[in-house]
């Protein structure tokens, strides 16, 4: 369970271009199911996800993960928590060009130093599960949008995280592919993983397994409803 208390995030502190991305957010996120953060761009939903996902530290406020305080952890330990707890799927896929599909999937596990054959097998299993096992050896550049998104999803799962964070996962996909990805995310939720999605795509709000919809505007929560 993740709990946020009075969390704020300020960028460019003390400068003329100071920007308050989040203003005093308090929130409890239970485990399991899909939670969607909706809101226009600039509403702070992505910033909120970066704080929850241990990608950044709040300027003020407390964040705890299963009772453990995260908000004052230095980056070194935040990363440690992050790589064991969270998997990320990004809007732009953010795969590394020049590497193969398999290598891209294995990448998050490199710093953990798992034995190579084990890691390779785990990555291959994930790719098989998402139906792109045959593409394991091909370069990222040759993938279609759907295949790229599946690769990104496999990469998010390589360290077997309890939570998956997806930032606008459908933004670059057509409706059919979007539904496919949402189905996969729903499958993850069914397995007991917690899925957090930021989006302004109505398709996402209507997806199966979405159990909570949180609405943000100007860095503040304006709506919180269960589905």
């Amino acid at each position: 369970m993740i709990e946020l208390t009075e969390v704020s995030k300020v960028f460019n502190q003390g400068r003329p271009n100071e920007c308050r991305a989040l203003r005093g957010i308090s929130l409890r996120l239970e485990c399991g199911g899909i939670t969607v953060f909706k809101g226009p761009s600039g509403s702070g939903k992505t910033t909120l996800l970066t704080l929850v996902g241990c990608l950044a530290r709040p300027t003020a406020g407390r964040i705890t993960l299963d009772g453990q305080l995260l908000s004052n952890l230095p980056e070194r330990f935040l990363t440690e928590v992050r790589r064991h707890t969270f998997g990320f799927v990004f809007q732009q896929f953010n795969l590394i060009r020049g590497l193969t599909v398999l290598e891209n999937v294995m990448l998050p596990a490199y710093p953990l130093g798992r034995p190579h054959h084990q890691l390779r097998a785990a990555a291959q299993t994930l790719l098989d599960r998402f139906g792109i096992g045959g593409k394991a050896g091909s370069r990222i550049e040759w993938l279609s949008g759907g295949e790229a998104q599946r690769t990104a999803l496999a990469r998010a799962l390589i360290n077997d995280p309890a939570m998956v964070i997806a930032d606008e996962p459908t933004a670059n996909l057509d409706s059919a592919l979007s539904r496919e990805v949402l189905a996969l995310l729903g499958e993850l939720a069914l397995q007991g993983r917690t899925v957090l999605i930021s989006s302004h795509d109505p398709l996402v709000f209507a997806a199966d397994h979405v159990k909570r919809l949180i609405e943000l505007r100007d860095g503040q929560m304006v709506g919180d409803g269960s589905c």
Binding site: T46, T47, L49, T50, L55, A56, E75, R76, T79, E80, R82, R83, F88, F90, Q91, Q92, N94, L95, I96, R97, G98, L99, E103, L107, P108, Y110, P111, L112, G113, R114, P115, H116, R155, A156, N159, D167
Partner: protein, 378 residues
């Protein structure tokens, strides 16, 4: 421990792939880097082997040489000095030497002429060094005419050519008989250029030298070790000067390395951002970048050093040779004895790899501390 090793293996693996992906950027730097190592190691290898050559050369020379000084200048030594020298305790043999230089305007070079009493040469016979033979296109049996002091030419017959591989200093050497020498230069009779002494016990050379200075006022005894030391000092000094001169090149290289490390392409920045977002820690990126530097340095170092080694010991071109070898005009076609010296490898590391690390540390750290959430905010 295995996990730690495995981690480094992954990092090296990734780094290698990344280096290959950004080939063009790294290739340029690698070339310049290797060139830098090549320059520095050429200087070191050449001066080191010249020094060694000088040492080997002097190994067989007598322990003490005696010159006569008149008004502080080197003058001819009267034959009458040989007897008192012989009588000094500890001296086993004394020999007067005749030698000098001859400037040949035809090839604009100095020859070293020396009387070789042990060679049994006929009055007009000469033995010449290989470089001399090549430049004047002489072979055995040919006649070389040199003008005497009276202006009349003296025909000299080439009786043999000295071994090319033997020594640095034999290249421009011409050995002749005492009669030939005296006809050519007409020095006052009963004088020598200088004298050399053989000492029974090497350790007493210094004591013998002190005795000579006392017994013969106006004499200047020179010890072999002193010559050796002077050679060393001169080569060391020249080498140091060349190093400092190359400092400007080094600075330019450091600026280039800094610039290359700081000016990451948008693609590379994106890659680092992705790695951080998917769970790589700043330390991992730092280590990855340091591995990159290490791999680059190793390649550049090996390539540059190997090239310099080949250049100095087997190649034809003699970069820096004029600076390091000094004044001589005729360069022999000699082969230096290959040798690698630990001290020099350490010094090379210190002037090439260390500056590279210094120049790239801060840019690498900057790149590694990119915001992990940048990918999501972008």
């Amino acid at each position: 421990m295995p996990a730690l090793l495995e981690r480094q293996k992954y990092l090296i693996d990734y780094t290698l792939a990344a280096l290959l992906r950004h080939k063009t950027r790294n290739l340029g730097l690698l070339l310049v880097y290797a060139l830098l190592v090549f320059l520095f190691s050429s200087v070191l290898l050449l001066s080191q082997s010249l020094r060694r050559e000088a040492a080997t050369l002097l190994q067989d020379t007598p322990e003490v040489m005696v010159q006569r000084l008149v008004a502080g200048r080197h003058d001819l030594l009267p034959a009458a000095w040989l007897e008192p020298l012989r009588r000094i305790r500890g001296v086993s043999a004394v020999q007067g030497r005749l030698w000098g230089y001859y400037y040949d305007p035809a090839v604009k070079a100095n020859y070293t002429l020396m009387v070789a009493p042990d060679r049994d040469l006929a009055a007009n016979d000469i033995l010449i060094g290989a470089a001399l033979a090549r430049i004047r296109q002489l072979s055995i049996g040919d006649i070389l005419s040199l003008p005497t002091t009276t202006g009349k030419p003296l025909p000299l017959k080439v009786a043999g050519i000295l071994d090319a591989a033997s020594e640095l200093l034999s290249a421009d050497l011409m050995l002749l008989s005492e009669t030939g020498y005296r006809t050519l230069f007409n020095p006052p009779p009963d004088t020598y250029t200088d004298a050399v002494l053989t000492v029974r016990n090497r350790r007493e050379a210094r004591t013998v030298a002190e005795k000579i200075a006392l017994a013969l006022p106006g004499s200047r005894p020179i010890l072999r070790t002193e010559i050796l030391r002077t050679y060393d000092a001169v080569f060391n000094w020249r080498e140091g000067i060349v190093f400092i001169t190359l400092g400007a090149v080094l600075l330019a290289f450091m600026i280039l390395a800094w610039d290359k490390a700081a000016g990451l392409s948008a693609e590379e920045k994106r890659e680092i951002g992705i790695l951080k977002a998917i769970g790589w820690e700043t330390g991992d990126i730092l280590r990855m970048k340091l591995w990159e530097g290490a791999l680059l340095s190793l390649t550049a170092f090996l390539a540059g050093y190997a090239l310099a080694y080949w250049q100095v010991f087997y190649g034809g071109t003699r970069l820096f040779a004029p600076v390091l070898k000094g004044w001589a005009m005729l360069y022999p076609d000699f082969r230096l004895t290959p040798a690698v010296d630990l001290l020099h490898v350490l010094a090379l590391l210190a002037v090439t790899v260390l500056p590279y690390i210094v120049a790239t540390l801060i840019p690498i750290w900057r790149a590694a501390t990119a915001d992990p959430d940048a990918v999501m905010r972008g």
